[in-house]
Symmetry: none
Subunit: 544 residues, 2 copies
């Protein structure tokens, strides 16, 4: 069976940049285009040269790619020739192999937003496309508001795209610019366009997520025959975002009725790098990755329900629609008050604790987890605290050291320059091997900024732990999350701390108290104890 070619067109660097709060630098655009090329995308839309300095600089510096680099712009304006339109000239001057220009196909927009006649608009489209192909570039036409336009005036919408088609556009992309068209309508109209004589091999689809249907809308157009799909990584884009390529790609490659049907530029190996590429983009943008993201999210293969978790242990196919490894993701079985014992044993095994099915500690551990969750603790996202609790119940937690007391002071007052400054100071008293040790630290960092009381406390706690000191020296706090929650009938503070060490280990611990400093202290204490458990020789501790 010969497979049809399906083309993937990425607009992360152009429409993705319309996301509120997102603006790429030129080096960031270069990094992203390298990642897209590695993934095997066919077209990379790099930006609008001439519209802003970053986009122009990117095309000057763009790395060589296997993908077709594409510059974006708009059709020439009325009253001048394509040759004399400076906006269009700037787009062509970027020197890309392909040029995509957006134009109107909705009569209301031609008349309201542009204020020109319908014929003038059709003429602008035809001449602009002809001008691009005359320069031996591949011409792509983004038919703005196509579905709204077709609904309002199908004859004119078809005229407009036929103008682009007849002038030699390689692709006519049906754009649902407002994001308001539902998949059924997108499918029906795409079929009608093909029936009207524009072949599916020259049709693309560009959808937005304003009804949470961008992915389904793109698939509906593919079902109807369109053979180019536009989207962005992680669904970035104007308003609610564009069709999410991070979802569309695995669906088109792995799921029925698409699996094996199309030839694309994406290999199985590249697909297995998808999760990493998604996280890399978040990293560049300094955004917290969406846990619930399909295929690539940290929760995408997390099985929280007790019934699900126990079935997964028998056969992963029971509750997984694809094997997470195919997209470079992994299965997660979190702890929660929904969890059954099999889930618990699985989690313990992951922490290196093999516990027999009938071990009497199992119900005790579950009981303690339930109790603590009622107090406001959560162990889904605090795996290290979960392990310590289980070890304690199993008699596998040495008492490395004992905290006798601590005291933290936070002060704000005027300094000698009459400016208000804050400073925190922490004193921690621990007993290690029978010896009492007092440590004091303050919250000032190297730059002289106050980092707050929890920072001072963390430093004091890890300052002198006797023979364990070596084991904790290389750990540091990388994230700190606070939430006010319900513990019994009172509001309490839950603190989750992420720590890291030089060996690249990363672990999360939790503390709960009405007092935020106290909650933080308990999470810090768990972080240190977990690290000491992990350090082999340090584990020769004093008896509990």
């Amino acid at each position: 069976m010969t497979r049809e070619r399906l083309f993937l067109y990425d607009t992360t660097l152009r429409d993705g940049q319309q996301t509120q709060g997102v603006s790429f630098s030129t080096p960031e655009k270069i990094r992203i285009s390298r990642a897209l090329d590695q993934l095997g995308i066919d077209y990379i839309e790099g930006g609008w040269p001439g519209a802003n300095p970053t986009d122009s600089a990117f095309f000057d510096a763009a790395p060589p790619t296997r993908a077709t680099m594409t510059a974006f712009g708009m059709t020439k304006r009325t009253g001048r020739s394509a040759e004399n339109d400076d906006v269009l000239a700037a787009v062509l001057n970027a020197g890309t192999n392909a040029v995509c220009i957006v134009g109107k196909t909705h009569d209301f927009h031609v008349e309201t937003a542009l204020g020109i006649t319908l014929d003038e608009n059709t003429e602008n489209i035809a001449q602009s496309i002809a001008h691009i192909t005359a320069q031996e570039r591949e011409a792509i036409f983004d038919a703005e508001h196509f579905f709204d336009g077709y609904r309002a005036n199908p004859a004119y919408a078809l005229d407009a795209i036929r103008a682009a088609h007849d002038a030699g556009a390689r692709w006519i992309v049906l754009c649902d610019t407002n994001g308001g068209a539902l998949p059924t309508e997108i499918g029906r109209i795409t079929s009608e366009v093909i029936a009207a004589g524009i072949p599916g091999e020259r049709l693309g689809i560009h959808t937005h997520n304003d009804t949470e249907s961008a992915v389904a809308g793109a698939l509906a157009a593919v079902d109807a025959g369109a053979r180019q799909v536009q989207g962005t990584l992680n669904g970035l884009g104007e308003r609610c975002g564009n069709a999410n390529l991070t979802t569309l790609i695995p669906t088109l490659l792995l799921k029925e009725p698409y699996a094996g049907r199309f030839e694309t530029g994406i290999t199985r190996d590249a697909l297995a790098g998808l999760t990493q590429i998604s996280r890399q983009l978040d990293d560049i943008l300094n955004r917290i990755p969406m846990r619930q993201a399909p295929y690539v999210g940290a929760s995408a293969f997390a099985h929280k329900a007790g019934l699900h978790a126990s079935a997964i242990l028998k056969d992963p196919a029971t509750y997984e629609h694809i094997d997470p490894a195919l997209v470079g993701n992994a299965r997660v079985i979190p702890m929660s008050n929904q969890a059954g014992q099999s889930n618990l044993r699985r989690r313990l095994a992951e922490a290196g604790l093999e516990v027999a099915r009938d071990d009497p500690a199992l119900p005790r551990i579950l009981e303690r987890i339930k109790e603590r969750e009622d107090q406001g603790y959560t162990y889904d996202s605090a795996q290290a605290s979960f392990e310590l609790l289980a070890r304690d119940e199993l008699g596998l937690l040495p008492a490395f050291f004992e905290v006798k007391r601590y005291k933290v002071t936070v002060e704000r007052r005027k300094n000698k320059y009459d400016r208000m400054v804050s400073l925190s100071e922490a004193v921690v008293v621990v007993k290690v091997d029978g010896e009492k040790k007092l440590s004091v630290s303050e919250s000032m960092d190297e730059s002289g900024s106050d980092r707050g009381p929890v920072n001072a406390l963390a430093k004091a706690l890890a300052k002198d732990l006797g023979r364990y000191q070596g084991a904790v020296e290389d750990m540091h706090l990388v994230d700190f999350k606070v939430r006010i929650t319900q513990g019994g009938t009172e509001a309490v503070t839950r603190v989750i701390i992420d720590s890291e060490d030089r060996q690249g280990r990363r672990w999360s611990t939790v503390g709960v108290s009405a007092n935020i400093v106290d909650a933080s202290f308990d999470a810090l204490l768990d972080a240190i104890n977990w690290k000491l458990v992990r350090e082999g020789d340090a584990a020769q501790a004093q008896p509990a």
Copy 2:
């Protein structure tokens, strides 16, 4: 034209609780069920009574609702009668008007996960449903993995749901439990089920978002004839989440081909509260609202592209698929242009500050908001702090008092009974009318529990403010939210405090600092200053 009735079924409190990191307390479940009822949802699935203490406690305390409160459980197990199944009994004991039980319809699951025969499973379904209806409850059957089951063995999948149907289930809900079925397949199979004799008026649809198509899948089932739609607020749920009711509701009420076609329990007025309900849920969960969320997200009607923003000023219909006010959301146009300033004037007017269109303070206020937002502040949810900032720029903020310094101590040590206890103490020094006043408070509440350093600080700050004391006596802190966010290049703590007074006023203030106590102090200070602005006679303050 008579409109068909479409039923909305919410499972935020049950499947939504399967979201990683989410676990509701009983009071939170009560708040959410009130919000769902206000919205006009038909069924509220409250949880699984007997499976965990929170769910059992919720049904004991559940508020009266117009919506049908529904308890969730599973079909009876093999080898005992429905009457003698303790798990099923616990579900019925919750005393709800409707009971939803999940059962297998996929032969692979019956044999692999349950390890029973296909006939035993069908029998379990029939007897469980009959047992529920015999108690005069409305029986709902969640057909787990229905689409996978139908794909593998259509005859058995139909047998299984026919058993529920014939035993008197009001609803048979086709569940895409793994989230792997695409909308086209969901539509086709739903049609085939109806053709096989199960009427659409008794069919529901339950989809998951693992291919980012949960909403489109639910719509495909409605197109085919299903008349109950299950989902969750904000798309919470196992793995990638459930079908998002926050999206489905406006689509079903406002968009073609659905608008006006169905009768639902949701009024236009309730729909206009949708954005608020979505934010309220995030607030309860202390999750950052998703800006890109369809309909209700802060970016859903934000027009960043220059072309779009200028067309929007001519006619909003050019780039908006619905009027944002219909769902209680608002258009956002970048602050930099004219529209940004009119937006600001509207917000100032809401705070009782009428400012002329050409007031030179307007661009200064916008500039300061932008600067502070870069530092990590947010004024969306801290209206009182926004008003104070604006008043300051407008010269309308009296300097009521001056804070000279403060000091907070947090200590944990052994008490005389050799138990570890914590205590915080705060000293605040203010200057009022030229007079210096020292106040000290501790964190112990009436019951002898430590309420933490912020509590001590709040009490000390409001303890002696001279002639302003009368004005602040009746205010108290009702909520306290903490979030770690980005301020420039550093992680900082953002604290939002909600205060209330005896006249029923409620206001929110924000503080940001690397030091959590400092951030809290600034939010407390804003809370007091806002209250003093509101108290007429107190406003005769000393000059700035």
